[in-house]
């Protein structure tokens, strides 16, 4: 059956790859699988920088008067720069290249049955653009006045004039890095959409696409349509900083709230740009390890689209107390609450998919379920912030910090690690060590909660976020022990990644060879070799069924890959009988 079909795929060489040397094959490759690995490497490097900065931030918050081991003391201006860079790096240079760049690039063509992205060279260009963006961002660390220090939201006028933060070119480079990053994902997003919509193989109708593809495509649409106003806003910000214009300066007739609106018009959808692919990974993993179809595939697709559309009409809930017209608050409260419904459907369907399953707790499944369990906390705490009245108290406090880490960490890291453990055999042709993976999960799960549950209480206690020292307020001093707990958690979380790094690097070189379909999964990427050769499919595959046909009654095997023709199925059946 499928094994035989795919085995024939292996020997056919593609004129492009076999001619190319090392540079052509690994550096300026146009193969989506290589580009995906480049994205993965980039996001790993950036995650080390972003995660390392969280160590400095957490140490400073727990023991403000001490010098940070391995670094030295940091001042308030450095602290602001660190939180700015931590946010910018984690959202734009870790989450997006990881979930969209790496997994989207690797899996969309394979899952829809295409040989490569629709525009391979554009794909390479989008990677090298984000590479340039990352370089610019890292270069900003070495500017004389340091990197941008106005928060990852870059609120004006703080970011609008150098005098307010004392940062000159660091902030300009921050804008340029973001602009390049947006350009990169504009190219990438277009490529995703064309690949997912037009390069589907025969029989791969829209309603047979794996949910990860649906979610990546929705994320791409949401990104493409939401980033425009922020690009316009960033152009205005750069002009303000370099040409002396006054788009955001009230004394020149400008308005600081314009930036907030433009930023959050993008910023909220951006959360879904990151969250949806993370869910997509969990949704690929859960059916495989529960040996069950996803519960309510179609409604899940519609919910995804609904969440994508609704994400454009909720942005002002970030601005309830920003000084915008208070009459706007209640309509935006309602839309914010409405958007919880599609997400509730997605999460409940994930839980319902477990019912009646035969669940194997391999490491991808552990991370996927851990992601669902923790995202629920992020989801329900969002209701507090979505209610305008409670947001008066919660806005700008550590409650917000804990909330968005509880939404983004589960999708980016629990989802992302689930994806890595799941597709590592496909990507690198070797298996990872399961014991180390489980240790990694247990440490990550416990320490993550240990960091952010205390921070909810710091926020409820009234502590504003982004403050260098809690002890400058008498009313907050009693919250200090919570910060200490969180910092122990953060350090343990960072150390807890060591088993993963060891596991990854060791398995890369020495892991046992992976079979073509080690998890007995159905989607098309498992019907080709591990790792796949350059033209992914020797013969364009043909799709006959839905992506999650596990444990079909009467079938000999508990999985039926998408490309198994009905008559082949009959043959298997007869042989089994």
């Amino acid at each position: 059956m499928s094994t035989a079909i795919a085995a024939s795929a292996a020997p056919i060489a593609h004129h492009e790859t076999h001619e190319a040397g090392f540079i052509g094959r690994y550096i300026f490759s146009v193969d989506h699988k290589v580009i995906a690995k480049q994205y993965l490497t980039l996001s790993a490097v950036m995650a080390l920088i972003g995660g390392g900065s969280s160590y400095l931030i957490r140490w400073q918050l727990a023991w403000p008067e001490t010098s940070i081991p391995g670094w030295g003391p940091i001042g308030p201006d450095q602290y602001n720069a660190l939180i700015t860079m931590h946010g910018t790096i984690m959202v734009f240079f870790v989450a997006m290249p990881f979930l969209l760049g790496a997994f989207g690039n690797y899996l969309i063509p394979l899952m829809v049955g295409a040989d490569d992205m629709a525009f391979p060279r554009l794909n390479a260009m989008s990677f090298w653009t984000i590479f340039a963006a990352s370089s610019v961002l890292i270069a900003s660390f070495f500017m004389p006045e340091g990197p941008a220090a106005s928060g990852w939201t870059g609120y004006v006028p703080l970011s609008d004039k150098a005098v307010y933060t004392g940062v000159g070119w660091g902030q300009n480079l921050w804008i340029i890095a973001l602009a390049l990053e947006f350009a990169s994902f504009l190219m990438g997003g277009v490529n995703f959409l064309v690949t997912g919509l037009n390069l589907r193989t025969r029989g791969m109708t829209l309603m047979r696409l794996p949910l990860l593809v649906w979610m990546e495509l929705t994320a791409a649409v949401v990104f493409l349509l939401s980033v425009g106003p922020l690009i316009a806003g960033a152009i205005m910000l750069l002009l303000d900083r370099t040409m002396g214009t006054g788009f955001y300066q009230p004394d020149k007739g400008g308005d600081p709230l314009l930036w907030e609106h433009l930023f959050w018009f993008f910023g909220h959808p951006e959360v879904y740009v990151v969250a949806l692919p993370g869910f997509g990974i969990m949704l690929e993993v859960i059916p495989v390890f529960a040996r069950k179809p996803i519960f309510g595939y179609k409604v899940m697709v519609y919910s995804t689209i609904a969440a994508g559309l609704l994400s454009f009409v909720v942005w002002a809930h970030h601005m309830f107390v920003s000084g915008m017209d208070p009459r706007l608050a209640s309509p935006f409260s309602v839309t914010t609450i409405l958007i919880s419904v599609p997400f509730a459907i997605i999460l409940f369907s994930m839980i319902a998919s477990l019912w009646g399953g035969s669940i194997r707790f391999a490491s991808p499944m552990l991370f996927a379920l851990g992601g669902v369990a923790t995202f629920l906390i992020g989801g329900v705490t969002g209701i507090f912030l979505g209610s305008a009245a409670v947001d008066i108290v919660m806005h700008g406090t550590y409650f917000v910090v804990a909330h968005f880490h509880y939404t983004l960490f589960p999708v980016v890291f629990f989802g992302g690690f689930a994806g890595i453990y799941f597709w590592f055999p496909k990507m690198f042709g070797r298996m990872m060590n399961e014991k180390l993976a489980q240790v990694h999960f247990v440490i990550t799960f416990i320490t993550f909660n240990m960091i952010f549950i205390p921070l909810f209480f710091v926020g409820l206690g009234g502590s504003p976020r982004r403050i260098y020292e809690l002890s400058s307020y008498d009313m907050l001093k009693h919250l200090q022990p919570l910060h200490v707990v969180a910092t122990y958690g953060a350090i343990a979380l960072l150390i807890g990644q060591v088993p993963f790094i060891i596991n990854f690097l060791y398995s890369l070189a020495r892991g046992p060879r992976a079979e073509q379909n080690p998890w007995h999964a159905n989607t098309l990427e498992w019907t080709v070799g591990s790792p796949p050769h350059h033209p992914n499919f020797a013969v364009p595959p043909r799709v006959y069924r839905d992506p999650y046909e596990y444990s079909v009654p009467g079938a000999a095997q508990d999985y039926i890959p998408q490309n198994v023709a009905p008559e082949e199925l009959v043959d298997i059946q007869l042989a089994a009988d």
């Binding site: 349509l225 425009g228 106003p229 308005d255 709230l257 009409v313 000084g323 915008m324 017209d325």
Partner: protein, 102 residues
């Protein structure tokens, strides 16, 4: 993936139509400019000028960009962003135009 299957729906030689549309575009430009000179209330003039601009844009989109022969997906790709940015503009009116609190 070839273009030919898709473009078959489109009549072949359309150069005459393109000239015709161009004449309309020039006429509408003149119309827009003459509204600018008319002694009518500014609000009405602005409304008319943008009406004319919208008609011109529609002519270019439908004929030069062949939107009238396109799949509904292409319409969606154009219309959804227009709706989103109009929504953005409407939502910002109370803040930017009336400057709540100023």
């Amino acid at each position: 993936m070839t273009d030919t299957t898709h473009d078959a729906a489109m009549p072949h030689n359309q150069n005459g139509l393109y000239f015709f549309i161009w004449i309309w575009l020039v006429v509408l430009l003149v119309v827009g400019l003459s509204i600018f000179g008319l002694p009518i209330p500014r609000v009405v003039a602005v409304g008319l000028i943008f009406g004319v601009a919208a008609v011109k844009a529609g002519l270019v989109l439908r004929n030069y960009m062949h939107l009238k022969h396109e799949h509904y997906l292409i319409y969606l790709i154009v219309l959804v962003p227009v709706l989103f940015f109009l929504g953005l503009a409407l939502t910002l009116i109370p803040d930017i135009v009336f400057r709540h609190g100023m």
